[in-house]
């Protein structure tokens, strides 16, 4: 009983600032400017289907690369001595102390045709390479900004893997590769699914990364939604419809990965 009372402030908060606005978004998505019911906003989304699929494609690529990069890092950190773990984690989180916009802005000055990277390569008479204003730069921006969200849940699961489990496997003659696939990965499944969600969800809806690093030719669905509310094509109804479509996709992905997590818990 007591625990329920303690939750009241948060529930009130959630109703006022999450449930009601969500209802408004749904209301907007299915009405015209005069308040009549319509499907036209959802159908108008067709024009932006390519952008939507591009956003999903980019964020899937970013999530997969994040996962591949984060797995060894998280594992190595979790195997360190306690004191060192704290330091290493701090290094992982360190970039997040700096404002998100500034971090992305910094990549602009690195990747530009006259940026630091091209100038460094220029010392060896290489380049200049076209590093910015393409899809690669956008995906790089996503990976850079969201990789801590992958490392942290992986790390927190992996620290719980007992060293003796791995030693036991080694004792029984398990090869290094099989330790990874049969022990470490299955035991950190929960962390993987959390990490995938925490990276995929913000990257599929990001808008400023694509604007700054994509040069305005790689617009993602987040950019288009932003333009409906604050930009030149002011149309909150269409923007809401887009937000709903995006939300459905996110919920789908989340329940997909929750599935794996819970199956693991059952076994």
């Amino acid at each position: 009983m007591k625990s329920k009372i303690l939750a009241v402030p948060y529930i009130v908060w959630m109703i006022i600032f999450t449930v009601i606005p969500l209802g408004l978004v749904i209301f907007f998505a299915f009405t015209t400017q005069n308040g009549n019911f319509t499907f036209s906003n959802i159908i108008a989304m067709n024009d932006y289907l390519d952008v939507l699929f591009r956003s999903i494609e980019y964020s899937v690529i970013a999530t997969v690369i994040c996962l591949i990069l984060a797995l060894p890092v998280a594992y190595l950190i979790s195997r360190l001595a306690r004191g060192k773990q704290g330091t290493m984690l701090m290094i992982v989180i360190l970039p997040m102390w700096i404002n998100f916009l500034l971090r992305t802005y910094a990549w602009m000055t690195l990747l530009e045709e006259n940026g630091l990277i091209n100038r460094f390569l220029g010392l060896f008479n290489l380049g200049p390479f076209n590093l910015i204003n393409n899809s690669g730069a956008v995906i790089l921006g996503m990976i850079y900004n969201y990789i801590p969200f992958m490392i942290l849940p992986l790390y927190s699961v992996m620290t719980k893997i007992d060293k003796s489990v791995i030693e036991a496997a080694q004792d029984l003659g398990c090869s290094g590769f099989h330790i990874l696939t049969k022990i470490i990965l299955p035991l950190s499944k929960q962390g993987i699914s959390t990490g995938i969600i925490t990276v995929f969800v913000p990257s599929v809806s990001t808008f400023i990364i694509s604007r700054m690093l994509g040069g305005g030719t790689n617009d993602l669905i987040g950019d288009i939604i932003e333009a409906q509310f604050l930009g030149n094509s002011y149309n909150p109804h269409l923007g809401s419809a887009m937000a709903i479509v995006l939300m459905v996709i996110v919920i789908l992905i989340m329940s997909l990965f929750n599935q794996f997590g819970s199956e693991e818990a059952v076994i």
Partner: protein, 455 residues
Amino acid sequence: MKKNFVLLITLLLMLALFSGCPRNNIHSSSDFSAVNNAENKSNSNTVSMENSKNSSQSVNSINRDDVNMDTILTTLDKSMLSEYDYSKLKNQNVTLNVCNWGEYMAVNQDDYFDVNKEFEKLTGIKVNYKTFATNEELYSKLKSGGGDYDIVIPSDYMISKMIKEGLIQKLDFDNIPNFSYIDKKFVGLEYDPENEYSVPYTWGIVCIVYNKKMVKKEITGWCDLWDDANDNNILMFNNPRDAFGIALTYLGYSQNTEDKRELEEAASTLKQQKNLVQAYVMDEIFDKIGGESSAIAPYYAGDVQTMIDENPNLDFCIPKEGTNKFVDAACIPTAAKNKEAAEMYINFLNEVQVAYANCDYLCYSTPHTGVYSLFDEKTKANPLRCPPDDYLNEKTEVFINLSDETNAYTQELWNQIKIEKSKSPWLVPAFLLISIALTFFLNIRRSRKKKQDIF
């Protein structure tokens, strides 16, 4: 061996960093103006004798002699104020909410005239200053009732849209006597024909900024933005109104056309240009042009002046085909709570000294005759700050508010340029349904499984 290799890489990286340092190509416009101010100030303080000589040399500007040019950019000179009762709302705890473009007023700069602080000191009214990034953002703030502002400074076409929708109210010009300073050329323009709603704040034209070292040919006008010689070095506006304005002028049509055929033609020209364009940008232009990553771009005159002052390799071109003239003006929203204080603020903005300090900070052109007569000869001769009258009359156009259909159609064309379209209209709804069904299926299966496990 490995360690040595790592050391070598670190060393090289550091080297590269150092080689990058002296270039120092990142300056926000505010940084620049702060530096500029400091320079101005040291000049005027240490060489004040020379300065007074200089100002006496500029014979035709009588005003310049009457005014203390040493301190005009630092503190308010009460003797320069017009006759106006600025103290009538003192001690009444009035707060004024001002919403202006970002980086569009002299505020919060060290050792420089601060419009809001001086206004607060003079009147006892507290100013709550906020900024917006696009006209549409301001529009959505006013339209949704979220913005509780007493003063807004939108651009021409947005003003006429706001008038049409009743978002801004008529001004009482008896409370704004300094309106008499406004040049008659800027009174009663298309967006506010009777000039009942707005007081012009700044104006300017859209022109071309380019890098003298990077372009291969002489730059003359918009045609150079479609020239293969500048392939992958062109930046373009990332908003449909300005982009279509340029394309329409390039084709010889009116920027305010509502003719679908002309708009379609402009769209196909823009599509052609897309292969040459390096990026579609707005404010990112400062880094890309300033850092010499791109060679040529259209932008607003005041900002072009700022970029040129920063990088001597840059130059400007006033397009021969004609261009867009924009006017930003102060207005009072219908929902404003302190109309009287707001009118006092507008009047204060048009005090000669305040307008001069603002203008000096912004580098935009001014509609204020008092400020114009304070300009030195160099500024008056600069076509970026003071474009010649003939050109303005014959070659420039002010945006007016277009019909909703035209706006929607332009937006549609713009989307076609930037993103490809798909055909079937039922793809998204079908996709949505499948997604929702799948989500339900997954969740139900999961909860069933859980139940099974419990038993």
